[in-house]
Symmetry: C2
Subunit: 201 residues, 2 copies
């Protein structure tokens, strides 16, 4: 059984959302599964000195246009830029980490529900109550999800996962690692595809 593809993402990342809608089919074409890693880019950006794209002069206006155009290009036309953006993503990230430990069979469904709530239905998933309610729609116990967001053990787990991601070289979203080879951006998925096919070039 070949190793899973590592998929790192921030719940506030438009390109991460587009990637999340495509990565499983891409992996499956090559007999691979996906290991999902929610990270907090805000923490990473402190190390790289990066600013959220939409706040950068010149780049900001372009990026908003490119988000929507790239979403349509990649077959995710339901995308729309949320009215509150960017957001802090501790709440959804902690729900996913908790599920991966407590109810792994529900983790992937919940993460898609959370991502779509934010980037399709304009739900502010930085709000713990709303994030728990969205997770509940995919079969998760709402009260337990809400409690997990404030659970010190889950908070610590997210810090540990974030540090591990940075140690692995992750600095953006989406970020894919295939057999040790790093790929940043949904615009590298074609390269990911060829790498999986050929093992490198």
């Amino acid at each position: 059984m070949p190793a899973p593809i590592d998929f790192y993402f921030d719940f506030s990342s438009p390109y991460g959302f587009i990637g999340s809608e495509k990565i499983e089919a891409l992996a499956a074409r090559h007999g691979r599964s996906v290991a999902w890693h929610p990270v907090l880019l805000g923490v990473v950006f402190k190390q790289t000195g990066a600013t959220p794209l939409t706040q950068v002069p010149l780049k900001g206006d372009y990026s908003k246009r490119d988000f929507a155009r790239s979403a349509r290009f990649h077959g995710v036309p339901a995308f729309r830029l949320p009215s509150v953006f960017p957001i802090s993503t501790q709440a959804p990230a902690r729900i996913v980490l908790w599920l991966q430990r407590a109810k792994p069979e529900l983790a992937v469904g919940a993460l898609h529900a959370l991502y779509r709530a934010f980037f399709v239905d304009d739900v502010d998933i930085s709000n713990p109550d709303r994030a728990a309610a969205i997770a509940a729609q995919s079969g998760v116990d709402a009260a337990a999800a809400r409690a997990a967001i404030d659970d010190p053990a889950i908070k610590d787990a997210l810090k540990v996962e974030n540090d591990k991601a940075i140690a692995a070289g992750v600095f953006g979203s989406p970020f894919v690692i295939v057999d040790g080879e790093p790929f940043w951006g949904v615009d590298r998925f074609e390269q990911v595809d060829r790498w999986l096919l050929t093992g490198g070039w």
Copy 2:
């Protein structure tokens, strides 16, 4: 006759080099020509607060790997990261601007020669004498090219062209504008291709 594609590039940009090797074939498939615009990203970066990729923590190591991998992926395997990098690109940019005004039939050949000298043969084209010598290999008068680099009128022309590029929203390299639609990066060439085919989506 449909309008040319605008292709903005900095001579120190690896992705700009890869793009420069592909843009003419892409344009030609759609009956378009290419309008070449050398720009100085250093000036643009002052507005966007950007830093050269290779100097950013985490991103720097990744980007070096991605330059070479992307070059091979896009069919430009001769690429190699120059030993002096990044460089100031006034000298090659001014030669191209001068040729576009004085000997337009030689401009495109010279710009390819200059770009390849830097990214294939490791020639430091920031050096005015070397840049003029490279241009001479593509049929340009070496002394005239060397003089153009110090010509106040050409210096001013580059400033004007840079300001026009910024006013058009250009903030990176390569940057392509097709009928008013902006695309940043060689990784958007697929979108450029589809845009030229369909007029948008």
